[in-house]
Symmetry: C2
Subunit: 321 residues, 2 copies
């Protein structure tokens, strides 16, 4: 929930005049998203989203993200399409920050996840992966195992502030994952952050995917593992196999899984749980007074990690071979 | 910058179904406003604002605010118009909170105030006061002198944390204002919080007034004094007499001022400065960890108070008799 930058009247008018979007009628900061400042821009042509990229997003990565959204939208994925200014450029500067206008997607992200959402997200994820095949650019996942190690080292001394013995548990988990992490699964464009607040629905029909600012090139099945964590646990911490079966089933209907991808899902889910646990732990340990964003609870992902560590195989997710 | 309440999907759909506004296509929290949770609702019929009234707004006052906006809008004041559900009610309940949908106003609040904005606000304020004449309901100003006394008593012991000797200065000021505060100036509906972020412009033309949740029945000239404080000081603390002259001049062109109103403007401006100083001081002293809103700087209004205390009369504002 954040808007980090205020846009001056004249700056906004001059900026919008570079585009064929008509007169700006309104520009309101949106109280969602923690990485960037987002504004709902209403113009004579309709609604748009204006994003100012704050410092947590690396400038060098922005051309990748913009090109990816452009590519996916043209492949029929319901996602924000970057709007090009009259000079053909979609990525510009506003208030000293990189800025882009993208199309507005109808729909709302689900606050209460039910099985139909999980079916929708499974199919959409597979179609995203298929559409990414023809995308030429590559971006390594900086929140893969090497990134986890960096985060772990930055947190280990103070991890005990969250829970006693946490540093040791995370150290063991990380060592195991570093040794066991696969090297040759099917690879391509993954979203890498497909949480419920990044997926819009209209009356239970998936209407759009947003926030591609963690997208990267990695194992496709790792994206499924992220979604299992983000969509299939109940608020009380229990794992809902019906949701998981629908999610993976609808994924496989659009993109069949290799036996290796299926067998390694629990391992990938452990890695995914560790990744979000570590970023949340880092943010939790490094809260700043007066911050506008409340840190998310790291223990949620500690519990998820332990769940995946305790299961025998993908059948515990309700998934058949 | 705040959204305090998350609205569930089903709750929102059921709520919107009570209105003739079409299918809800999007609902995004707006990162503005500190009292309530505001959402930009996009439906098949266009944009609306959905407000959930949080605890800082007294429930008993809501019928007054809703009726006032309705009245003013029908009198031609550009302000949000409450949208009635099919049963005729505009004030309902959502997520356990009072809630209302109002019309969406085009325009943006000015980040950099120039003289043309001050001319616009002067005329709009007078028209608001004239339109309020035919409004039958009354709401005492709970942030008048008696309210200042309550705030002062709640802050006096710790006021020194902001500045040494502040408690004594505020105590003297309050005692002076309590004795000198007028009793018989022209009275009516005032907005009482017409800061720049509550006034929308489209290319320097005023397009709307919002946020009537401090509106009450009080001296009309006190509303002018609030605007002198909110619109006519430069960021460096200097008072801009050109802006004040335009603001008051455009006001008087629509609603002439009594000689007493004019003569008492400096006193009313001291009262207004003390009012915002005290509420800001209270919020500053009572910050809570993890709050989503940064407290505003009380010293800004201490400087304004001292300015008004030091002038000889309204001519110091650049205003002629």
């Amino acid at each position: 929930m954040a808007v980090y930058t205020e846009i001056g009247d004249d700056e906004l008018r001059d900026f919008a005049a570079l585009y064929d979007i008509g007169e700006v009628l309104s520009c309101k900061g949106i109280a969602e998203g923690v990485e960037n400042s987002n504004f709902l821009l209403t113009t004579a042509r309709g609604n748009f989203i204006l994003t100012l990229y704050e410092k947590r997003v690396a400038r060098a990565d922005l051309p990748f993200f913009i090109a990816l959204m452009d590519h996916l939208a043209h492949q029929g994925v319901a996602c924000p399409t970057p709007v090009r200014a009259r000079d053909g450029e979609a990525l510009r500067e506003l208030c000293g920050r990189p800025a882009a206008i993208v199309t507005f997607l109808n729909g709302m992200w689900p606050r209460r996840i039910d099985a139909s959402h999980c079916a929708g997200i499974g199919g959409a994820l597979a179609r995203l992966h298929l559409a990414g095949r023809s995308f030429a650019m590559v971006r390594p996942n900086d929140l893969g195992p090497a990134g986890w190690r960096r985060l772990y080292e930055a947190c280990r001394e103070r991890a005990g502030e969250l829970q006693p013995h946490l540093a040791a548990e995370l150290g063991d988990e990380l060592a195991f994952l570093e040794a066991a992490w696969p090297r040759d699964l099917p690879t391509g464009i993954i979203h890498a952050d497909l949480f419920p607040d990044n997926v819009f629905f209209r009356d239970h029909e998936l209407s759009g995917l947003i926030d591609f600012y963690f997208a990267c090139t990695d194992f496709l099945a790792y994206d499924i593992a992220i979604c299992l964590n983000a969509w299939c646990f109940e608020p009380d911490g229990s794992f809902n196999v019906t949701k998981a079966r629908l999610l993976v089933g609808h994924y496989r209907a659009a993109r069949p899984l290799d036996p290796a991808e299926l067998a390694l899902l629990p391992l990938l889910a452990r890695g995914s749980a560790l990744r979000f646990l570590l970023t949340r732990l880092y943010d939790w340990l490094n809260q700043t007074a007066g911050a506008l964003v409340r840190p998310k609870d790291p223990t949620e992902y500690l519990k998820k990690l332990r769940f995946h560590r305790g299961i025998a195989g993908p059948s515990a997710y309700g998934i058949d071979d």
